[in-house]
Amino acid sequence: MTKKMIYLALLVTMSLVLSLVEQSIPVPFLPAGAKLGLSNVIVVFALYTLPKTTDVMMIIVVKLILSCIFGAGMSGFLYSSMGAIFSFSVMFLVKTLLSRFVSVIGVSILGSVFHHIGQLVVAMLVVQNAGVFLYLPVLTGVGILTGFFVGLVNFYLFPFHRLLKQRSNPL
C-alpha cells in the first residue's frame, strides 16, 4: 500500500517538475494560452498503466491543485480544472471503447484538444461572450501537435513500464 502511494506521489512529482521545466523551453509557434503540456505525459502514462482508474483521477486532482499552488496560478485553477475534466472524460471514454482503432497518440490528441475546449468554455462564461470560440481552430491545430508529441513520448515509455513491472511491481 505504501509502495503504491510512493509510486503515485512520484508520478505527480514528475508531472509537476515537467510543467516547471517546460516553461524554460522557448517555443516560437505557440499562441497565447497554449502550452507544451509535458506534464500530461504523466497523466496519459497513468491512464494506460495504472490498473485502477480512481488512482488516475487522484493523480489528476493532486496534480491540478499542486500545480496551481506552485505555478502561482490560483486564478487559472478554474480553467485548468474544467480542461482536466473535459480531457480526462474524453480520453477515458475513447481509450475504454475505441482502443481497437485509436492508439495512445489519438487519445493524447483528443485529451489535448478537449482540454483546450474546456478552457474556452470557462473563458466564454467569464467574459459572457461566445466569441472566444473563434480561437478554437488555432488552439486545436496546436493541440493536435502537442497531443501527438505527448502520445509519442508515451509510446516510447511503455516498454520501460513493462520492465518496471517485471523488476519490482509497485502496484
Binding site: 475505441l98 481497437r100 482503432f101 485509436v102 492508439s103 497518440i105 489519438g106 490528441i109 483528443l110 484538444v113 461572450n129 461566445a130 466569441g131 470560440f133 473563434l134 478554437l136 481552430p137 488552439l139 486545436t140 491545430g141 493541440g143 493536435i144
Partner: protein, 112 residues
C-alpha cells in the same frame, strides 16, 4: 499510429471550425441609416416597437422597428416606393428613398 488516429485528427480539425459558423449569425443586428451619403443613425433591431422620423432637407420618412424588423410607414416623397419595401428583417436587407436620399440597411455588429 492506428487508422483511428488519423480520423481523430481530421475530425478534430473539422470540428474546431463549427463554432465559427455558429457565431457568425449571432451578432447583434442593427439598422444603419444614411442620409445624403452621411451616416445618420444606428439603431438596434429590437422586438420592442420603436418609431423614428428621419428628417431630411427634402422631406421626412418615418420608420418603425418592431419584432426584429424595420419598415418605412410614412413618407412625404412623391413616389412612396420606400413604403413598398415592406418589413425587412434579414441582415443585408435594404430600404431606400431616392427622392430623400435616405439609405437604410440592416447590418451586423461584429464582436469587439
Amino acid at each position: 499510429m492506428k487508422k483511428g488516429d488519423v480520423v481523430v485528427i481530421i475530425l478534430a480539425l473539422l470540428m474546431s471550425f463549427i463554432p465559427y459558423f455558429y457565431i457568425k449569425g449571432q451578432g447583434k443586428a442593427y439598422v444603419y441609416i444614411m442620409v445624403d451619403g452621411q451616416a445618420y443613425r444606428n439603431i438596434p433591431l429590437t422586438e420592442q416597437k420603436q418609431e423614428l422620423t428621419i428628417e431630411t432637407p427634402n422631406g421626412y420618412n418615418t420608420i418603425v422597428i418592431e419584432n426584429k424588423g424595420v419598415a418605412v410607414t410614412d413618407a412625404n416623397c412623391h413616389d412612396h416606393i420606400c413604403e413598398e419595401f415592406g418589413i425587412k428583417k434579414q441582415i443585408g436587407d435594404i430600404i431606400v428613398c431616392l427622392p430623400h436620399k435616405v439609405y437604410i440597411e440592416i447590418k451586423e455588429r461584429s464582436y469587439e
